[in-house]
Symmetry: C2
Subunit: 491 residues, 2 copies
Amino acid sequence: MVSAIPVPPANTLWHAKMRSYDQLDHAAFASAADDSTGLDDVLAWLEAERAEVSCELEPVPLDEIARWRTDTATGDLVHDSGRFFAIRGLDVTTNYGPVERWSQPIIDQPEVGVLGLLVREVRGVTQVLIQAKMEPGNINLVQLSPTVQATHSNYDRVHGGAAPRYLEHFLAGTRDRVRVDVLQSEQGARFLRKRNRNMIVEVIGDVPVHEGFRWLTLRQLHRLLRLDNVVNMDLRSVLSCLQFSRWSAGMPTRSDLLAGQHSPLAHSVLAPDDALHTSGELLAWSTDARMRYRLNTRIVPLSEVSRWQRDKWHIAHEDGLYFTVGGVAVRMASREVSGWMQPVIAPTHEGLAAMVLTSINGVPHALMQAKLEAGNRDVVEIAPTVQCITRNYQHLLPEERPEHLSLVTDVAPEHVLFDAYQSEEGGRFFRQQNKYVIVEYHGDLHAVESPNHRWMSIGQLKNLVLYSNYVNVEARSLLACACAVIEGGNA
Amino acid sequence: MVSAIPVPPANTLWHAKMRSYDQLDHAAFASAADDSTGLDDVLAWLEAERAEVSCELEPVPLDEIARWRTDTATGDLVHDSGRFFAIRGLDVTTNYGPVERWSQPIIDQPEVGVLGLLVREVRGVTQVLIQAKMEPGNINLVQLSPTVQATHSNYDRVHGGAAPRYLEHFLAGTRDRVRVDVLQSEQGARFLRKRNRNMIVEVIGDVPVHEGFRWLTLRQLHRLLRLDNVVNMDLRSVLSCLQFSRWSAGMPTRSDLLAGQHSPLAHSVLAPDDALHTSGELLAWSTDARMRYRLNTRIVPLSEVSRWQRDKWHIAHEDGLYFTVGGVAVRMASREVSGWMQPVIAPTHEGLAAMVLTSINGVPHALMQAKLEAGNRDVVEIAPTVQCITRNYQHLLPEERPEHLSLVTDVAPEHVLFDAYQSEEGGRFFRQQNKYVIVEYHGDLHAVESPNHRWMSIGQLKNLVLYSNYVNVEARSLLACACAVIEGGNA
């Protein structure tokens, strides 16, 4: 039973716009999929898991978050153990964008967690072991997540819970085959250099399927990605790292794809030689952007962050922009522990992450952006064509808006290939959903390239996510969605 | 005219062992090379450049390094402008190796310099534009360097000199073709997260060849690499990034190599599919090592670094190990400025960087090491099979010595494929030469793999250097040397 969320006074924190999968026309999706994909079945399972979660959420004042305290010297929000994460202040100086200097709250979470996906191949079809996982900030509370989604604190059992299921497959000494293991960044606008370890492990032999877990095919996941707030951020991120060729980490070849996936992906995701730019040119472009921009950051006391104010319930920007920090109490039975309180970050407005896709000689290419965010480890990462908080730009003149916004907003409906709300991480963000959009482009290729934008093939992006800190989390999400688009064609 | 180096009292700083190219049997090299490679000619040119350098070096007390001062609060050695670099203290805590905590002086040089190599192809032969460059710490003073070797301070002209020659080819807006552009680390034991920008640019059209510059073929460079202290560290690093296939940044294919290089490399450096491990497995191994080890560093005042002592001339470790910090006065006419003083780092003992090479199904593979160094940006980078300061281990029992040291030291002469002294960066290090060795291995492949060692093909290494912070500078040097070995066969 999911409780209603009480609304604290005078803030947008608890008013995240909900466009949940409940409001969608499931029949339309079910009919689009053929019977074998069994989407209805998966959705019914998710619904049952959701019904079973006995969970109550309640906002708590910042000073009453149990086991968390406000550091008297800095005003930082920290856990009594010094672990998990902290909310601190960050002073930022940069030559990127119109604002040269600001300060902001930032999530400092130095521990690297594991996002682990167990995969297997059954009669040539790739299956992944999915968890229906509740997280307090999730829209719908329960979403599809990787097999394992654990912080170091989790598996060190700092809060006394049991070790997460299947964790042993992702630890040293596993007899399974580690296929991908890469450190990837998360939201650079919110996290200070946070990274998670994205792992894909091919399981050798049978594993028991525990309560709350299920093998799904990649094709099913691609369909489910088209629904709002069903596939969580961590799963999207790990999925983006899945390589199409038969488990080698190189580029997918046409024959590999045909042999291994039985999917239309085979026909469209080709080797990088077919790309507009060589991978070397793209890497050089990315290095050039890292050198062109300056990013100087300094941790400062949270109490000294300018233009942000703290009241009993929230830390919020004085113009009501960006996000707010609040506290939440969670009471539940199905998680590792029965309940806890924690700070959460809530968006004040919806975000937009949009990828402009085109076909060049039959090879799908995305127009990607070199984007600086305050928490980036290396100045710039590769981001979607457009990534912004929509509201922030509504008062701007058209020419002041984010580059290429109009490519996404002024587009005929038949050129919208993908359009769904996806949630950001439910363990830190409270009901943060962003609009993920993929649109088709039919204009001049070179007209839309600029110092910060380059076309790269989906295959090149797939290769880049094997290396740390090249592709940001929003772009990885869209990469997972793009594969759903490519597989599904225009159906 | 190169002056004699005065020897300050009671320290090893100025006693770096010299085994310069002058002491070698040039005739042996000249006869090994065929006439067309013109080694004699290159060496004569280098000698002439060296004779022309009017330079005097003189040690100066730490308190008398002009434009440098000792910060009164921290004891750090800093430049008056706050630029160039500083010598600070670093407190290190780690679970890697036998020592869990120490502190040490470290070079803090946040500015990213450019190491730029101009290349061209003439009748299918790759040529690179080489500079005969003097640097104060160089053994032999003048060594072969990349076309451009410039710090940001250099090209911002902080010290009032002229802009380096050819720099325009490496700046935004060049009409040349940028082939490689990647940020690479330098010595993690000495530098705090330092990186340089390694660029390879194919020049379009003719360029004037200025005094002190010369086009050399790759084959010539491969021969010159076998000589002691001729090819400087920056050039070795950039050379390691050169891709063999016809300028694509992907893997070299056999046909690319045959078409583009006219070199035996074509027969031996194959696509990664022929490697013992997939690139995905190697990347996963590298991530696992980054996660297995902990590296916590904190800048501390240089005056508080324990077990290091400062006298008038030096900052040195109390056991005479590692390195010393001293000051040097440089007076010369041929550099951007006529003279300056600066701190330098001098080794107390020789270092060893050794690569164990073998052929697996005809594909050359190197046994590489995941190694933690205090100044690393991301815990671990891929290092040579063995990388150590030899002297540090001479008092240890055999079982306490660096893993695989015996593979390099107990080897029949006919299995030594490469053996030369190479200098480390002459702008910061004073007469630091390390022994670079490549030996052939004929034993059990799996017996020498361990948690920190993996076989990878030379092609896989060539691919990894296209990404930042995967391969350390000693390994990149050896990668350049390995290509010399492979090209030259056993001749």
